[in-house]
């Protein structure tokens, strides 16, 4: 009886510890978002007092959102910051989705080719070509940044959407190839062989048979690319100035400006993150699948 009680106690203690740690980490993960969200509704006085809980500590106002032109009373009126914000938002959405789509198309083809055929380019065989693709992951963006910057100046590609799309496609392409290679390797070759015997060509076999099977994998690769491009700051800061400026660059330029309007910055940072937080909640399965793909095989 005593022993059983002891075990029960130990188990209870263990459970408490596990949930304690998990809840602590949950708090660490969520508190910055909570803090930013509340700050966007604070007035100057309640920001400097470091108040935490709305309605209890301070009376929330639409301060940050008003400045951004997104509060209920300003949403139907004309607002320059909102125009600016929406322009940046669409830039980011357009550049990152196009770049991801390009990378996914090229990367899937390449990964499929590498998993199905033997290539020989000079001394390079399949493993060498794979390595050539994946080694691009190690390349730090700063190495490419300055030469590309100068080249873009000559090609008149600075501050254009095309220029941004090209460089973003490059940064995510190796990741797509890495994820998709495992996906294609998991599809049995016999499926296509049967189709080819029935008279399909290599390409129609790819589109009609393999493509539907790997569609979830392609979706997770696409989402992963989208996230990476959406958040990219370093290259965007160098290449863009006005026309193709993306949201991270806009937010960063406001951070360094002298008088910091806390509520404003909070609103704008939250707006930058909001789409991705929503994505994390609804597409968690795909995101995790993409990231875990390399871990097990690697």
């Amino acid at each position: 009886m005593v022993a059983k009680g002891f075990i029960m106690k130990k188990e209870f203690f263990e459970k408490t510890l596990i949930y304690g740690i998990l809840l602590l980490w949950t708090f660490i993960c969520l508190f910055p978002i909570y803090w930013t969200a509340t700050t966007s509704f604070k007035t100057a006085a309640s920001v400097t007092q470091g108040l935490l809980i709305p309605w209890l500590d301070f009376e929330p106002a639409w301060k940050g959102w008003k400045n951004l032109g997104l509060s209920p009373d300003t949403i139907f009126t004309e607002s320059n910051p909102r125009e600016e914000f929406l322009a940046r938002f669409f830039n980011t959405a357009f550049i990152s989705s196009t770049a991801s789509a390009l990378a996914v198309i090229m990367g899937s083809f390449a990964a499929y080719g590498l998993s199905r055929f033997n290539y020989k380019f000079g001394f390079m065989r399949n493993p060498d070509i794979s390595f050539f693709f994946l080694s691009q992951l190690i390349l730090p963006p700063v190495v490419l940044a300055l030469p590309v910057l100068v080249l873009y100046r000559e090609l008149d590609l600075l501050d254009t959407h095309i220029g941004m799309i090209l460089i973003y496609t490059l940064t995510v392409l190796p990741i797509v190839i890495w994820i998709m290679r495992d996906q294609f390797n998991a599809v049995p070759i016999e499926l296509e062989e049967a189709a080819l015997v029935d008279g399909a060509t290599v390409w129609s076999g790819f589109f009609k048979i393999v493509f539907p099977i790997v569609l979830p994998g392609i979706a997770s690769a696409f989402i992963l690319c989208l996230i990476l491009c959406w958040n990219e700051y370093f290259l965007a800061a160098l290449i863009t100035s006005t026309d193709a400026k993306t949201m991270p660059v806009m937010v960063a330029s406001q951070i360094s400006s002298q008088s910091i309007k806390w509520w404003n910055m909070a609103a704008i940072s939250l707006a930058l993150c909001f789409p991705l937080i929503v994505a994390a909640i609804f597409l968690e399965r795909y995101i995790v699948k993409g990231m875990a793909a390399g871990a097990i095989k690697g």
Binding site: M106, A252, S256, A292, G298
Partner: protein, 372 residues
Amino acid sequence: MSEIKQMERDPLYVVSPSYISPKTKRFGKILVWSSFFLMSIIGIIQILYNLEKINFGFNNWRPLLYSYILWAIAIGYSRVLIYGERGKRNLFIFPAVMFIISIVIFPMLFGLYISFTDWNLSSLDGRKFNGLDNFYQMMSDPYYWNSLKNMIYYILAVLVEFAIAFLLALLLNSQIKGRKFFRVVFLIPLMLSPVAVSWMVGKSMLEQRFGPVANFARWLGWETPTFFSSPEIARLTMMCMDAWTFIPLMIIMLLAGLQALPKEVLEAAKVDGANKWTMFKNIIFPIMLPVSLTTLVIRIIFKLKLADIIIIVTAGGPGGATDSVTSFIVREYRDRSNVGYGTLLSFVYLILIIIFMTILIRFVNRWLQRAS
């Protein structure tokens, strides 16, 4: 003979007899050469125009880019014309290879050239070849070596991140309620843009006077909580912020590994009466070794690119204590717009990375071989 053929055979193998007439072959070759010819003409015109030898030309080099794209398409199409079925297969990897060569190899070669020049974008002189001067300047640049030293600290911090991530992954994998909720929540920091994190955490929460973390530190008894004034604390703060964003990635990869553990082995160990710690030490950790090492290598690759939050939050300060190599080079470029020197620094960094990663991967492979 037949054995060699067997090895050379494609995994997806089909007999596809395709007769290609010499006419088609010739057409393919003409296509490639004519587009190449067009590209060369445009290139030569532009060079002469830039040298002011002739008075007609284009405003910029973009036409050359268009003709280059045309040429690339012609090569791709001619593969099919010349080699038939074989060429169609090449078409799968051709776009990706061509794309990477164009956007990586060309700029790299160009960068290699400008790293030996004294080229200040803001001065009117243009670039001057100055041989190894940039290199000598680098050797005596204490800030560059300092940023490399910082990178070592940052990389060592990965081990601590790994320990935290492993613990959390183990907990997520144990019998708990609401696993789905925890998984989503733990993923969220990774989704946030480094720019937003810099502001939310670095500028707002760590604000000395009224940031919640500062208030908390004061409540704990630290009277003057400043997170960016002393070099050590500033570096530690940057490490924590970076860890906060990237621990989710490690959790996901390790969790995937834990879920793939063979259940029978774990059950058997439980029946044998192994307690949790011995089970972890003797079974889970050894089986997880390949996944762990992959996770570490990937995390280190990301760490080597660390820049955004440093550029925004501290700009390398105080006194270069938080500088990563990337943020240092960016400042070098922003402050003095010296493209030549900055490029040389980045190339030296690339070479160091390649050496480091080669050693690391070889070490990892050897360790795995010994373990198995």
